[in-house]
């Protein structure tokens, strides 16, 4: 420090300079301990990083700015959540079917946010570079935010509707919740570089727009101001995370040409794994929103085919190709939501939300949105099931389906290009046969069978007798493995799942709101006085 420096006014710092001064120099080369003993996990994957300082932070957030902007978001969000709770906003949604989607959300998605928080926390500890470490810790904190705000918002619904009260318990135990659980555990148990490519790039950058933008917009369209508020508020963090996703890819690819094939392999794997996970959103969008904003196939066209196309065109200069199994996703886009709803309907006694067959209005909408597939393959199936319901002999599955060893969906998907043939694959490993739902999942299994054989596959576990509460005696004469497995999962048969019509949620809804529980079917009970939806009522009052 030169004394004469004080004569001039202090230098004005730009955003970039300020950020660089306040972050980059914080780290140092250790000399008392070996670097590889401090950062132990960055070598085993084979990624080569020559200069961690080449990392570019697009959003140059210092901690004070983080607190400031995030604090403002939280104040806004909780003002809405408080008002929502005070005014019983849970009854303002279109109908009680919409609430079933929130059950999938809190039981299947909230804990993913938490796992994501943990995954980024590990990176925040293990990356040697200051820039990426700070980006990871801010994201870890954001993910904690997402879990928290989802719980705080949906807790109001959980007080008035069934099936949402045991979300942490169910996430660890319910058979179909092993789909999201195994997805994120797969990522977190990988090495740090695979994790960040999987989550920041393949999942957040390439895929989550597709789910959260149309889905949250749909929540708004159905009058759920609380969910759209946490959803879009979380997305504002996501926009920051997505730039982390693209920066990490560029960083890895620019650091060493040897990283290119590794990154490509992870993109191929996690694009497929993420796509399979998000198929759940496909069915939520097409079947669980009483009023729809966009169909799954349209969302796939906009957010994957167009935007993903632009992204992979940009990455072509590094030698990166679009995900290997992208063509299958395009071929399946007219089928996936319908196939999935059919499986849930058939297994509705073993799920934690209630099911219905699509109404005439909804089927007309699907015919219009899916002109090449719906009338040909799925309408006849629904009409047949409707007739069976009307005849008093509703169709239901009594055994649990075969699950895919990788994605853990029931093997319910069809061959791409042949929607009448189920797609089934298998691989041998150490003398045992493992089943997969698709080529995409088989690729993943065959690359790392030693990892996937450890998957906690719920249906196998049930049949092996591992899913009973303490004190249950499987040798007792009246022992019923399915009944006991549902108890173990925390699902109350006839309350949490089953048929929507006649359910506690539908009956309470009509009693409490005097509006139909299903806007397309008229009143189920005589508590209904007004068959118009709230939006119509509003329009009438305004007019």
């Amino acid at each position: 420090m030169a004394a004469e420096g004080n004569a001039k006014p202090a230098k004005k710092l730009s955003l970039k300079e300020n950020y660089a001064l306040l972050t980059r120099g914080l780290g140092w080369e250790p000399s008392y301990e070996k670097k590889e003993d401090i950062f132990r996990y960055i070598h085993f994957e084979g990624v080569k990083i020559h200069d961690w300082d080449k990392w570019e932070d697009p959003f140059r957030l210092t901690m004070d700015a983080y607190w400031k902007y995030q604090g403002e978001k939280e104040r806004k969000l909780y003002a809405i959540v408080d008002a929502f709770q005070q005014h019983n906003g849970q009854f303002n949604v279109t109908d009680a079917r919409y609430v079933q989607a929130l059950k999938v959300f809190i039981n299947g998605i909230t804990e993913l946010e938490y796992d994501s928080h943990r995954g980024f926390n590990i990176l925040a500890r293990e990356f040697p570079g200051v820039g990426p470490r700070i980006a990871a810790q801010m994201q870890s904190l954001d993910e904690l935010r997402h879990a928290t705000t989802q719980i705080h918002t949906i807790s109001q619904y959980a007080k008035y509707f069934t099936g949402m009260n045991e979300f942490p318990y169910q996430f660890d135990r319910v058979w179909y919740l092993s789909i999201p659980k195994s997805f994120f555990e797969d990522a977190v148990t990988s090495g740090p570089f695979e994790f960040i490519v999987a989550i920041s790039f393949a999942f957040e950058y390439v895929l989550t727009n597709l789910a959260f933008m149309p889905w949250m917009s749909g929540a708004a369209f159905n009058g759920d101001m609380a969910t759209v508020s946490f959803g879009f508020s979380a997305q504002s963090d996501e926009a920051r995370h997505m730039t982390l996703g693209i920066e990490v890819i560029k960083f890895l690819l620019e650091q060493d040409p040897g990283n290119v094939p590794l990154v490509q392999k992870w993109i191929d794997k996690w694009f497929w794994r993420g796509y399979r996970l998000l198929s759940l959103l496909a069915t939520m969008m097409d079947y669980m929103l009483p009023k729809r904003v966009m169909a799954w196939n349209e969302a796939w066209e906009i957010y994957y085919e167009q935007n993903g196309g632009a992204l992979f065109a940009d990455l072509a200069r590094y030698g990166i190709k679009p995900p290997k199994r992208a063509p299958e996703t395009i071929a399946e886009k007219g089928h996936v939501a319908h196939q999935m709803w059919s499986v849930f309907y058939a297994n509705r006694d073993a799920v934690g939300f209630q099911m219905w067959l699509p109404s005439d209005e909804e089927m007309a909408w699907m015919s219009e949105k899916y002109p090449d597939t719906f009338d040909q393959y799925y309408r006849p199936r629904y009409e047949y099931w409707k007739a069976q319901e009307a005849a008093g002999t509703p169709f239901r599955n009594t055994t649990l389906p075969q699950l895919c060893q990788v994605c853990q969906w029931p093997c319910l998907f069809t061959e791409s290009g042949d929607p009448t043939t189920l797609s089934l694959r298998e691989s041998e490993y150490r003398g045992q046969t493992f089943h997969m739902c698709s080529d995409g999942c088989k690729d993943i299994f065959d690359d790392t069978p030693e990892k996937y054989v450890h998957a906690w596959l719920p249906v196998h576990q049930i049949y092996q007798g591992n899913c009973f509460l303490p004190g249950v005696d499987p040798t007792a004469p009246d022992f019923n493995p399915m009944v006991e497995a549902l108890r173990y999962m925390g699902i109350k048969p006839g309350v949490d799942g089953g048929d929507f019509k006649g359910s506690a949620d539908a009956t309470n809804w009509e009693k409490w709101t005097s509006r139909p529980a299903n806007i397309h079917e008229g009143a189920y009970t005589d508590a209904v006085r007004d068959t118009a939806s709230p939006a119509d009522v509003g329009a009438r009052k305004a007019g």
């Binding site: 420090m1 140092w28 250790p30 604090g71 939280e74 019983n88 928080h117 998957a455 709101t513």
Partner: protein, 331 residues
Amino acid sequence: MSVEIRTKGVKPLSNSFGHLQRRFGDKPATRYQEATYDIQSTANFHYKPLWDPAREMFDARRTAVMMKDWYQLKDPRQFYYGNYTTTRARQQDAIDRTLDFVEKRDLLRSLSQDIRERIVHTIVPLRHYEWGANTNSAHVSAYGYGTAITSPAMMNTADRLGMAQHISRIGLLVDGNSGDSLLAAQALWTGHADWQPLRREVERMFVTRDWFEVFVAQLLVADALVYPLFFQQIDAAIAGASGSALSSLSDALMRWYEETAKWIDAVIKTAAAESPENKALLSGWTVTWRNRLLPALVPIAQRALGNKAEDALAAAAAALDARAAKLGLTV
């Protein structure tokens, strides 16, 4: 849009989530409770972590401390993300006003060269101590068990980055935003004899695996010695020679330290009361790290305080011992 609801007849089916009802009864839960209790997965893990194949992804065995219920380790501040960020944002507003006041009046730049050099030599290198604390705190939240401890540890991780940046700003106020003081401070931290013993202990924490030991070493012991020594004793010595400009900025650090100590104390006290084994472990770690860190602070304390250094360190050590004893440890 207004919707007519017969709210009088509407009674909730339950007042809180099942896991909260089992802990606290069927009554409305606080936002802290909703965001904290039983949130982390505990069962049916799918894969062996490639980075730790002998354990599960979430595994209580990453520390020797044992708790029957890890959710006993609650945070008396009841922080969840929302009240944490809005609290920090509010505090930062006040800090920004002080920074602005000091900058506009050139309060640190106009100090004598001798005092400015003292600040750069004895205060600014602590930005690296804070970055080390950030690493250690991230270790606790990354490998800890149960949201009750890991969530505030994550917030503490963020706090330590904030503190590192606050101390860096003190440097920039001294050097007129040239960044020279930060470069000088890094050279001191990595090369000057006054700082090497402390850096040695910080790096030793980096290779300590048991996350609860890291918690004790960094958050209980090191902070309890470093904060009072630098931001009270050394700060007071500088203020005695030059007025309170620096103190107006270190005040925020002390306030933060006192707030955070409430959380640290609650965690230690509860874990020690759980079992004699825990008490012995925590006491042993406290003694070990105290005995490492106290001598490590001698050279920089002597540089800053001269012949008063010994008393200053003895006072900080006595305060730590008394605090540890109050928390049920034997030191």
